[in-house]
Symmetry: D2
Subunit: 337 residues, 4 copies
Amino acid sequence: MIKLGIIGAGRIGKVHAESINKYVVDAEVKSIADPFMNEEISKWAENMGIKNTYKDYKEILNDTEIDAVLVCSSTDTHSQISIEAARAGKHIFCEKPIDHDVEKIKEVLREVEKAGVKYQVGFNRRFDHNFRAIKETVQSGKIGAPHIIKVTSRDPEAPPIDYVRVSGGMFLDMTIHDFDMIRFLSGSEVEEVYAMGNVLVDPAIGEAGDIDTAIVTLKLANGALGVIDNSRQAAYGYDQRAEVFGSKGSVAVTNDTGSRAVISTQEGVAAEKPLHFFLERYMQAYAEEIKEFIAAVVNDTEVPVNALDGLKPVLIGLAAKKSIQEGRPVKISEIEM
Amino acid sequence: MIKLGIIGAGRIGKVHAESINKYVVDAEVKSIADPFMNEEISKWAENMGIKNTYKDYKEILNDTEIDAVLVCSSTDTHSQISIEAARAGKHIFCEKPIDHDVEKIKEVLREVEKAGVKYQVGFNRRFDHNFRAIKETVQSGKIGAPHIIKVTSRDPEAPPIDYVRVSGGMFLDMTIHDFDMIRFLSGSEVEEVYAMGNVLVDPAIGEAGDIDTAIVTLKLANGALGVIDNSRQAAYGYDQRAEVFGSKGSVAVTNDTGSRAVISTQEGVAAEKPLHFFLERYMQAYAEEIKEFIAAVVNDTEVPVNALDGLKPVLIGLAAKKSIQEGRPVKISEIEM
Amino acid sequence: MIKLGIIGAGRIGKVHAESINKYVVDAEVKSIADPFMNEEISKWAENMGIKNTYKDYKEILNDTEIDAVLVCSSTDTHSQISIEAARAGKHIFCEKPIDHDVEKIKEVLREVEKAGVKYQVGFNRRFDHNFRAIKETVQSGKIGAPHIIKVTSRDPEAPPIDYVRVSGGMFLDMTIHDFDMIRFLSGSEVEEVYAMGNVLVDPAIGEAGDIDTAIVTLKLANGALGVIDNSRQAAYGYDQRAEVFGSKGSVAVTNDTGSRAVISTQEGVAAEKPLHFFLERYMQAYAEEIKEFIAAVVNDTEVPVNALDGLKPVLIGLAAKKSIQEGRPVKISEIEM
Amino acid sequence: MIKLGIIGAGRIGKVHAESINKYVVDAEVKSIADPFMNEEISKWAENMGIKNTYKDYKEILNDTEIDAVLVCSSTDTHSQISIEAARAGKHIFCEKPIDHDVEKIKEVLREVEKAGVKYQVGFNRRFDHNFRAIKETVQSGKIGAPHIIKVTSRDPEAPPIDYVRVSGGMFLDMTIHDFDMIRFLSGSEVEEVYAMGNVLVDPAIGEAGDIDTAIVTLKLANGALGVIDNSRQAAYGYDQRAEVFGSKGSVAVTNDTGSRAVISTQEGVAAEKPLHFFLERYMQAYAEEIKEFIAAVVNDTEVPVNALDGLKPVLIGLAAKKSIQEGRPVKISEIEM
């Protein structure tokens, strides 16, 4: 029985605690820490069978009974806590992104390697049944060599402006998942990026120095081309589709819905909207990623999404940002240096 | 170049004239007759390049230049005109049903055989691309031996009550197409029928002695079971679907639409309603059935839907009617005697 | 915290234990009994956190700490155990069917009423997201008054012949769910049934005195017509669809699949088969029905599927059986007497 | 009755002659000219009821009875013949592109204006029922202001290498339709283009100096972003889809198929591939564009796709070409000068 500590009791920290409770048989959450720990969270923790609640995450790192930690704190603390946890000998599951600063991510990589602990990054979409079906089809060879990889990723609503300001920009906050998806589905590395963006959803986003609508084109090492279209606000809900087109055919997935009901009336033929947002759409994927992390710890095998997989999308995101700023395609090698 | 005469200048007579004009290269309509011939029809005929317009269809039968006639007059005249046309040595395309009276249909069969002319019945749905795709799949063996044949057939709106009164009842007027479809798709004969019906759309239909909603179950000679569901009024339009389920799988078709557009908004995900009614849905099928009739005449080959195919669905329709009246399953052999 | 005992540790008993473990927060399984209790089951029970394992279910009935029992034993013991459990003052969740004998079901009803305990029957499909979506659409009035209710229900493979012999026949074993679905979706009672059946899947089923393919037509109290098509074996998997057609439109559901992937190649455009069988398709529905049972116990409210809902489909099933035997439509009132 | 002359008796010239014959009531093709006129073409022309066949198109221009000409000759002759036809006072329907040379197109524009004749360019896809449905939805305001316009355009097979060499490159030969579609669907002008391309289908295409796979990103005057993905070879056939995403929702179309049949077997659930190529997919659109051209001539109204609509996509194509060559985004204004 693996004992876990969760660092950060915000939305995603709770999601992980709950899905471990429901779906993961060989692990249990022993402790949870949050600087804003309060009675409400403590009560929730008690209901979940979590023994200890702390304000200071170091209590978790100091607990020798705890095998692994889930870093679910605010983004700007990910790299620092990761380093401390590695030094404490804990296996680490860290929410994305590890950091916005490439140097800090590299430091995490070095510390993790030195400590010899497992390090998994929270690219949950890789565990979604739909994207897995694409990946498996590509790997089966049914559609031949990939030529074009397309990702559509649109949120149902823009985050609060206060969040936008500290988010690192849309590319590092939202598109980073799509950069990972391009790598995952293509099985290849991104070499060059060109991004076109605009502020079409909300002028306040522009005033905060960000964009809300974008098309990103990517050149991959295997010659394939990738393209992502993003919007911070889709009126019909969370739009998460992808397609890989190859020499022998294509594989594409559409959105999940709450039911398969189709209603035909004088007004037309109506189906349901996509599941509203990431909690609805990716609930099973969140459980699956933790399951596989625990399995890697238990069996001492490779984690499915490692620290390098955490670094690469940040590099792509920084290149996309530079591309927008300078109005030209940017090579990943320009960022890496 | 085959020369044709059309008897009956109502809606379906005009549909045939127009589709011959557009799609049939080796035939032309020389004459058209209608007891209610008037200036409007004459003008239309002139535009269509039809030389002669008559009140009396006998003028067409007496024209030795005319090779074949299309019987598009009112249902109660089909068998009489068919007999006269056969005696005049014309090949005959006759709209369904040949007659509501089995004896009269049998007389037509005898006269047609005696005269040695071609006789095709207007079961246009056999020529629809969707139902053809089912038929071809069944024949290919891909779904194995047919076990269940399902037909959904619902009109967008009920006919006028005056028409209902003389229509011979829903089974002979509307379901007759579905009885033909069951025979066509199964490749087998119907042996027994049980019908359950009700008046749910319009009480006036009940007062006129008819029903507007029905489920008909059919036992086929090859052991398969058939089922038809009918309504005189579907709010969303013309609903024409079918499925054959067999030992190795199933094949099903959905409705055609004007476009493949899907609109996603806050209200939901909306597609188009089915094409409104038979003229929209079966326009190509009407052209196709005439093309194949002409081809059978030109090449002296078998017509694709012969006089016996015209008789069988009437027998099934009469059995369904009797089943409703007597509240029990009825064998086709009870009707045939 | 409600304490539960499970009687019967076969497939469905285990499914319930596991889903209570995962999804039901305010109940726990204290004990499980099975006449064939063995080490394997005991080990599984231990893993599930179940304290007691018994051979004799009476140990559970005698345990005053236990609030409610789940009757998951073989069908022929359902009514007897239900009666004993009611007399022991336990709330009861009973798998379908309660019994094949109407008199015994009525005795259960009397004993349950006398004891004042909750009694829920395991018609799990009512809790499926797709069928719920139909029900909610019908209740919303969007499609008007129901005219036609259609249920397609086909299993991926026939049960073993030994099971077929004791199953009570396809109508009481398999179609009974569909009879319940017709009642659930229409909100009305079945008054008359006509069934047409055949042996098309496996001659051994016929030799065992049963059928494997059927069309059942039903007349409902509100005037609507119902139709069910059944097969014991669909090559492509578990086919569970339904449609309600009404005065203002229709609502229909298709099958769930493992993913929404569509693969386009030279061979065609391919999607996934339906989820294979009831465990895959209805896993969430099994959890949901138990959740609602527990909620009814905790809050002392009506159970969502009561004992009368357990009786009615058996009556319809017996009528369908009689219809096949006598080749005529059978009124439910003929069975009830 | 409008009298037409067709210049060029290749595939597209014949398509137009045949669809005028079938679908256009108020026009007839009087003459057809082709430098390679031969017996086979003459026979075909006779069958189509075309009176005159010439080698020299000037015979058509000199025929004062002819009101309008269809320029269906090889691309390099479009602008020259257009100019001569304008000077001869003929209304002109010209296949795309008018020319690859911007100056020559501008000369055509001047001559057409001077002569006061109608000039329509053959962007047939604007007349396709699916793309029209998108356009109408955008215009209806249902999806709000357009933010992202996506076009997927993939051919079933690459053209012969000899053709590739003289085609002007994929952007001017194939993508030009997609550039027009972006303008049509967005109702806005393209201001800047970035193109990423590769040779993934056939190395011979690369040796001929062209690419076969591309992603093109476009910045529009109204702030919206456009994106096109192209391949010269899709194993599953002609892939022609589009989507407009806006502030209130999105509208998207999928491909047409020969039938709506879905076959479910042990292997999976299979639907038909898209209609094979442009002749199958756009047959009705070809008829529609000519109908509207004739209507504009008859009623002296604006043509639906004018000479300027012929110029703009060429400018975008040249910008895309330059973008590939120079590895940077290119403004349309750089090309126009």
